[in-house]
């Protein structure tokens, strides 16, 4: 277990918004993985804020892949490293929710199927944020985005938020986990774990976006915590077929209070909240069932 974080900065000087959850996830993961790391980023917030020539913000090897190709490029690097006898290295990708659950899903599935020793980290801010907050398939029910404007007829996104963790686990991947920047010790432990997995690992880290969510930039961590406490996000691991819940919530806090702190949910009605509560209960029961079975 990692006791102290590396003092070195590997993602520094980027132009991310104040309170950016995604950039924190990247920064922390690289402190765990260290200097012998190859990073792949697709088009997305992190490549937009950290990768504009001549201001390049990674002090480890890094490149931007085509939008759909994060996992394919990670695999290519790992396979080349094997061929060239570069053994002591990490190959890690950081893709957003859209880059993972929408356009990058096919390549991710292919990489997990091959079992290449790569770490795929999805930083989930629940919409296409760097292009102006458009809906992705991980945008939660009710959320306002620029492509799901709330009105009299449709109250924002009608998505059910794809269960990426379960999709990945269904590949019988070596290691998968959900995480949150609302629980940094847990996230760090999971990145450390992924580093030592001999095969493909996937971490889905909840990473709030003050700009897209309509919260104060100082509230990123606290809102991420609250998402866990109200049951809309859970921390779970899957390893060699075994599911494990990492943070048991005895009593959920109010979903309404969580939602109403965010401008993107300002319009939701009590009926909407009921639907969101039902979704929460279904998802939590589903995952608890998985944990119990083992």
């Amino acid at each position: 277990m990692l006791k102290m974080l590396d003092q070195e900065e590997y993602f520094y000087g980027h132009k991310g918004c104040g309170g950016c959850g995604g950039s924190l996830a990247v920064r922390l993961a690289l402190k765990v993985l260290g200097k012998n790391t190859f990073v792949v980023l697709p088009a997305g917030c992190m490549s937009a804020v950290g990768f504009v020539y001549p201001q390049l913000c990674f002090s480890v090897n890094a490149l931007i892949s085509p939008f759909a190709s994060t996992a394919a490029m990670l695999s290519g690097i790992r396979v080349a490293a094997k061929s060239l006898n570069i053994t002591d290295c990490n190959v890690v990708g950081f893709a957003g929710d859209g880059g993972t659950a929408d356009i990058g899903l096919q390549a991710l599935s292919g990489a997990i199927d091959r079992g290449d020793k790569i770490i795929y980290i999805c930083y989930d801010n629940e919409a296409y944020m760097n292009t102006g907050v458009q809906q992705s398939s991980l945008t939660p029910y009710g959320a306002r985005t620029t492509t799901t404007p709330p009105g009299d007829h449709i109250h924002g996104s009608t998505n059910n938020k794809k269960d990426m963790f379960e999709i990945v686990a269904a590949h019988h991947i070596k290691y998968a986990a959900t995480a949150s920047i609302g629980n940094i010790p847990d996230y760090i432990r999971k990145v450390e774990k992924a580093k030592n997995i001999n095969g493909t690992s996937y971490i889905h880290v909840a990473a709030p976006c003050p700009t897209g969510w309509g919260i104060e930039s100082s509230d990123t961590i606290s809102i991420a915590k609250e998402a866990i406490e109200c049951g809309l996000w859970y921390l779970v691991e899957y390893e060699d077929g075994v599911y494990k819940l990492n943070q048991e919530i005895q009593e959920y806090t109010s979903i309404k209070v969580y939602l109403k702190k965010q401008a993107r949910f300002k319009h939701v009605t009590d009926d909407d909240i009921k639907i969101i509560e039902e979704q929460r209960d279904k998802k939590n029961n589903f995952i608890k069932g998985k944990v119990k079975k083992i």
Binding site: F38, N61, L63, I64, S75, V79, S83
Partner: protein, 389 residues
């Protein structure tokens, strides 16, 4: 003793790749693929080729994977065809813009709709602007030799541009010929170990494939164009070196056959050249001054070579398996630009689309038609061959 084998165009490519000793091969088996990658898989399995073979879930991923591998300093190979090539289109621009020295084989096959598994050249010609060096070969021997030359061209530090070797689907990929295989010593002498300056390196980290502002972007694009233009000299030099080592050279971006005194010339691309040469020989027996110009590289385009080879001809036909709907065939448009100041009569023959056979007589008729154009006569520019019936 020379090593002669009887192989298909596909197998010739696989033999060439094996001799180039790639580190990483990534391929998707369909949309459609060729047996090139099957032969390579067998070679890897038998340890005749010490490469990592990656099975990927799409062509898009195949090209992305070899890009990632290449910038780590690995020599790579991938192959595709038709729809698969089009699916790669995004990554093709990406690779050339990133100056990644990839080598890819493409089997030229028709693109849907209508679906067709047969050959034409609309797949690769529609990607002429993707920044890749495009080579079109005539036979299995040239396929093998050009795969080896392609690595030397792509990886040359003054070029650093990906190269696509195009073989006509079926006509070339699926037919068998006797070819000569160079020795490993010869190839090793010609093709140095892959050393990529500016590769990703744990001791000297790089940030690659970045964004750029408008101020810088045009500079990178100008450099990309300059590298492609400069490749003309490198291509010729490398072909000469290859000839010195193996005894086989191909003569640069375009070559002529009996063009010296020809009044009438047909310009071709790919495997149809052999048939046109046969017709030229037959018509020469009858005393007709005809010739053929074979375009070997569509990019960089052999403008000067075509001007030189066609200098004595008055009537020229461009025969191609392509059409850019609403104008001409793409080869014609390029040739017309090369000959724009010469006042020669130029006609476009669009043939062989979707695998339609082009016969000896079809070509003979084209020469006949070209010969019969009188001064001042207005002729239709684009003519489809074999549409009737």
């Amino acid at each position: 003793m020379k090593n002669k084998v009887f192989v298909s165009g596909d197998e010739a490519v696989a033999l060439g790749v094996k001799l180039a000793k790639p580190n990483v091969i990534a391929a998707y088996p369909i949309t459609p693929q060729t047996i090139v990658v099957e032969r390579l898989a067998e070679m890897v399995e038998k340890r005749e080729l010490e490469a990592e073979y990656m099975y990927v879930e799409s062509e898009h991923s195949a090209l992305a994977a070899v890009m990632g591998a290449s910038v780590l300093g690995a020599r790579t190979f991938t192959a595709t065809s038709s729809q698969g090539l089009l699916y790669m289109a995004e990554v093709m621009h990406y690779a050339s813009g990133g100056r990644v020295p990839l080598v890819m084989m493409n089997a030229n096959r028709s693109v849907a709709l209508p679906w067709s598994i047969f050959g034409d050249q609309r797949d690769s010609l529609s990607l002429l602007d993707s920044g890749w060096i495009q080579v079109y070969v005539e036979d299995a021997q040239e396929s093998l030799d050009m795969i080896i030359q392609a690595y030397a061209i792509a990886e040359h530090k003054e070029v650093l541009t990906p190269v696509m070797i195009n073989l006509d689907g079926f006509v070339l990929t699926h037919t068998f010929e006797a070819i000569e295989v160079p020795t490993q010593e010869q190839v090793t002498k010609f093709l140095p170990k892959f050393e990529l300056e500016g590769k990703m390196d744990l001791d000297n980290p790089k940030n690659l494939f970045f964004s750029s502002s408008p101020a810088h972007n045009i500079l990178f694009k100008a450099q990309q164009h300059q590298a492609m233009e400069h490749s003309r000299i490198i291509i010729e030099e490398l072909d000469k070196q290859y000839e010195e080592i193996t005894g086989r050279g191909y003569g640069g971006l375009a070559t002529g056959y009996k063009t010296e005194d020809a009044d009438i010339i047909i310009i071709t691309l790919g495997s149809i050249t052999g048939l046109v040469k046969d017709v030229v020989d037959a018509l020469r027996v009858e005393g007709q001054k005809v010739g053929v110009v074979k375009i070997r590289y569509m990019r960089p385009f052999p403008e000067k070579e075509i001007l030189q080879l066609c200098k004595n001809a008055s009537n020229i036909g461009v025969l191609e398996k392509d059409i850019s709907f609403g104008y001409h065939g793409t080869v014609y448009t390029n040739v017309a630009d090369a000959l724009r100041t010469t006042g020669k009569k130029l006609i476009n023959y669009v043939a062989g689309l979707g695998g339609k056979n082009v016969s000896f007589n079809d070509i003979k008729n084209i020469f006949g038609e070209l010969k019969s154009i009188d001064d001042g006569q207005i002729v239709q520019t684009v003519n489809f061959v074999g549409v009737e019936g």
